[in-house]
Amino acid sequence: MNEINSGKKILSLVLLIAGVVLMIAALWMDFTKTYLVINLGSTKLAFRGMFLVLGALFVLAGLYYIPTVLHHRAIINFIFLFPLLFTFAVTVIIPMFVGFFYSFTDWNGVSFSRMVGFENYAAMFKEPAFIWSLLLTILFVVVNMILVNLVAFLLALLCTTKLKGVGFFRAAYFLPNLIGGIVLGYIWQFIFSNVLTTILNSPYSALANTNTAFMAIIVVYIWQYAGYIMLIYVNGLATVPKDVLEAAQIDGANEIKTLFQIKIPMIAATFTICTFLTLTSAFKQFDVNLALTNGVGTVRNFMGSRLSNGTQMIALNIYNTAFARDQYGYAQAKAILFFIILACVSLIQVRISNKREVEM
């Protein structure tokens, strides 16, 4: 027993040390830009990546062979979780911290010359165009949260009746959601600019005027999103137990009463999911906005200045700040504010919805 343990101990130690050495070597090569390259005829072998991967595998194997009974389960759990944790860290956690850091600099996407402290955060509240985008986005979210859910729920009721060809309607309403937002935006731009102007014989399209352009975005967004939400409602309505409905029928409840007293309370959880989905996705609206109006729209007087970004949502505003103005640091600060707002709103919304479910 002891012999095996000591054998394992040595093996684990050797693997751990070898792994750490290999990984450090790989990182050293990366930072000093020295490459170990072997020429094999037409293919060239470089060892930086191999060292890193092998090193990581050795460390994991070493962890596995550590002779401990107490922590063995924990180590196994860690090894199994490692790929996921690693990917999550590389793609989400680390970029987020880097982003926080950049929001305090004057980064232009290539380099930054100084730390600006909270200057970026202060500047955005003095920028009328940004405040406008923020307010417009909130309005857009409120309007859409109501309208998308209303339209989707009505469509769902329609698609759960015993009409002929219900399957076809379900598919037809869902289809717009399968088209990408950019393509959809351009299709609708054509409809607004070329088709509707001809039919209505108007000199210019709805997209040229700020108010009508904003409504156009809402229409397109509902068209795109209502079918998706409808499917969730259809599923929700299908879970309402038949015996409850029958009991209601026997008690003499009519259709409307059944809908408001039985069906809607029974699918409260579905409402939570749907409002949450519409809320967050409306907040993040970007592609339709970009393709349809690119944010253009005149606001004659807002906080004392004339704006030309009348239909620009916050996501597009952030994008333009970074890519059209080369102010990546400032855009990052706006993005962090956006993140905080979104996180707060989502948390509050889920909390309220959960409470309602319990009461039911």
């Binding site: 890193l52 102007t197 000199p203 253009v296």
Partner: protein, 434 residues
Amino acid sequence: MKKFLAILLTLAMVFTLVACGVSTETETPASSGEATEVAAGGIRLFNGKIEIAEPLNHAAEVYEAATGKHVEVESLGGGVDLQATLKQYYQAGNMPDIFVFEGAPDLANWTGMVVDMSDQDWAKDTDAGFTSEDGLVGFPYTTEAIGLAYNKSILEAAGVDPASITGPESMKAAFEAIDAKKDELGITAVIGYCANATELYWSTGQHLFGQYLDAGLDRDDTTYFDLMMNEGKLDTERFTHFAEMVDLFNHYSDPALLISGNYDMQVSGFAAGKYAFVTQGSWIGSSLTNQYKDQYAAAGNFECGYVPYCFEEGIDTILTNAPSHWAVYKDGNVSEAEAFLNWLAGPDGQQIMVQEAGCVSPFKSCTVVANDPFAAPVSEYAAAGKTSSWHWMGQPSNMAQDGTGAIFQDFAMGNEDVASFVEAMASVIPDFVK
């Protein structure tokens, strides 16, 4: 047996992982140019003009055949944000050796990272290079012109002599004369002018606005540009004259195009002979002879020419410039990149650039003339010395998109008149130049 299988599987996994590591490894240095041994001899050119991708690839092949040096041409364009792509390359350690930039705002990102090429042979052969605080850093590969383009056949049929258009009155008279014969000439409108701020903010907010900044001035005259950039002001008298010209365009443009049209409609309409004038620069020449060649042929392959945007009497220049330049990246393969650019500026390179790519050569020694409807008129203006510069390229990069473009659209929609248009422009510009 079970154990054996487990070991086998583990080995297979390790092998694939390591293989992945190796293959990415060999790719990265090859394109980043960091590991000189892998990248030796080859250079990479980041071209921002997708229209000339084919001729450039051909030029690269000819160059490789002549010198044995490989040039990889990477062409992007058509709505791709070039600078954003470049920044991604930079972050990934994958910078091309030669890359494109438009004007000072773009170049500001790369200060200190580009090579001064004033010692190169081509530098003595042109005035169109781009100079910044780092020296002569921009290689000009073409010249483009912005003037009021016209269809010679229509003007002749209407009995209007383009040379008679020298100021606002004569321009108005010419427009009226053509408008009166619209049905007879079979045209839709006198001018194809589009103020759609979503699609064509760059045409109005940059090119047309650029006429206010430069038209009629010497190439190095920055009076109005400085007034705007330093004090955030417009010269009210000059700008009012400019606004009156835009008002004339609004009035005589095709209503279907004016507010809700797009670039394709505008250029194809001109190619098809629907408009006597069009507010686009010389780059539409290649669209006429390639993309819309059927419409262009149906309209009789008419000759084209330029009149100046003469919103004031005495303005007799069109605006010509290199629309973008190529810079050489300091940490790239500098000597090879410079050698390629020198070759491209020489007779063999220019032959391809002019005849195949349809570029108007910015080099004095070049004698080849492009087979492009706008090449001859541009060369004439250049030879007569009647050209002004493109100082609009130095304006804040988002000013047209986020500010002035929408005001041109409001003006076209009739929401503004001349006076309030001038006022609105004057009120918006300080937001961008401060």
